[in-house]
Amino acid sequence: MTGRLAALGMLVLGAAAFPSAWAQPLPPWSEDEVHAIVRHGPWPPPVPRDPSNRVDGREAGIVLGEHLFNDARLSAGGDMSCAGCHVAGRDWSDGRARAMGRVELDRRTLSLWNVGYAHWFGWDGAGDSLWAQSIRPILEPREMGSDAVRVARLLREDAVLACGYRRAFGEPPGTDDEKLLVDAAKALAAFQATLVSPRTPFDDFRDAVESGDREAAARYPAAAQRGLRIFIASNCAACHFGPRFTNGEFGDVGIPFFTRPGEVDAGRLGGITRLADSPFNLLGGYNDDPAGAGALRTRHVQRQHSNFGEFRVPSLRQMASGPFMHNGHLATLEDVVRHYSQVDPDRLHGDALPLVRPLGLGAEQRSDLVAFLRTLSAKVVPRPAPPPLCP
């Protein structure tokens, strides 16, 4: 290990020779820093299978899900599909500060990249499975405004979808409307779980650090390396942990949670209530693996006062160009870094995490941190059209 660290020190010094506004040699990475870098990979890890969804990982379910994802007939007006907000060419989001359904909503559209790795879904974690979360916008009156009867009828009466359903689930669409709604959501989830973001410049650097490949590591820009060091020293990985750069849990980071005068978005506090009340949670009858361990988090999650104003920690991978935070409060990545640099502790909720504190970064440090964050994204190959459901 000592030899590898020495080699890393040399490569970092070499990397500092890259053109930079901050022409200072970088000190070698410490053993702790190497550990911190390595645990953000490798990328991509295998997508875990969801035993609560019997078509998860099955090609016929994935293809049906992609067709349904693009099908506006799921909505009440026949004019709104999942793909309308989760746009493939916009990193599966929409580029808006607040999502637009039938009306403007209170939260930003979450990207679907890497959603198959998550254990809580939505900004407030009201969904404990990807398929349960996929039901929510279909039924939500302010979004697709649909119902089980409409979705079931579509699956039964459209010959191509009925054929796709039969291939995915091994039987023709039945007469139980709510079950067909859930099955449609399970196909949607099977498709979404395949959306894995591409490898990035950071991943190449991370792998080079792990293997001691000096030449490969030296290709990582010096500004990004300085930003990475700030990221590690600031303990950002307490929440933005692991290969996905999120621990998948929730935090209050000082973003206003007023939606309009006199109204607040309670975030995780409301999410846990909605989770408990949902007939589609993993403790209910639609879980395809009721005896499995998948419902363990749902069974044990506890509603705490500190959940008020908490929102899910987003992944930092493939973040697109913004806006950012749960309500699009910050327009650019520079604004996000400035927020964490200057966050006012007095604006944090009383039970907020004390590890959120003003970092007090200078302009060059903020620029370096942004440079690092940008290396967590990469160019995306345009998605081909889905294969036909049935010939």
């Binding site: 254990h119 990985a237 307490a238 849990e249 044990h300 999650v301 506890q302 004390p354």
Partner: protein
């Protein structure tokens, strides 16, 4: 190393009344936590605790006085961050002082302190142990 020393010390200092206390859970990669009145052998399941991944604890609770002991509550906190777990563990008594605790999740890397509330008759006590999660 500290754990091994604590385990050895627990064995050396154990008065005769503890001789019947099963410490199998504390051997190998398990732990032994003790006070003047209680000795608790425990083992995480799975043995390696991963950030954000649910795990269980298997425990054996004994008393110095050889009275029956009860595990009343288990919790965990991150003292530096002043927060606990987002999950409420449940305790299942397996008989003869042995317990299984399910629903533990350490959702951040760093220092976690588990607290074990035990009771024997009217006498109760909180024992604790630190885990460093990377």
């Amino acid at each position: 190393m500290r754990l091994a020393i604590a385990f050895m010390a627990a064995l050396l200092l154990a008065p005769p009344a503890w001789a019947d206390c099963p410490l199998d859970l504390g051997r190998g990669t398990g732990l032994v936590v003790f006070s003047d009145h209680y000795i608790i052998a425990l083992r995480p399941e799975p043995l390696h605790i991963e950030v954000g991944e649910p795990f269980s604890l298997l425990l054996n609770v004994c008393t110095k006085s050889d009275r029956p002991a009860e595990l009343v509550a288990v919790d965990a906190q991150m003292p530096e961050h002043r927060h606990g777990m987002n999950y409420r563990p449940t305790i299942v008594a397996l008989g003869e002082g042995r317990y299984r605790v399910d629903g533990m999740v350490f959702h951040m890397p760093g220092r976690w302190e588990i607290s074990l509330d035990v009771r024997a008759g009217e006498e109760s006590e909180r024992l604790s142990h630190e885990f460093i999660i990377k």
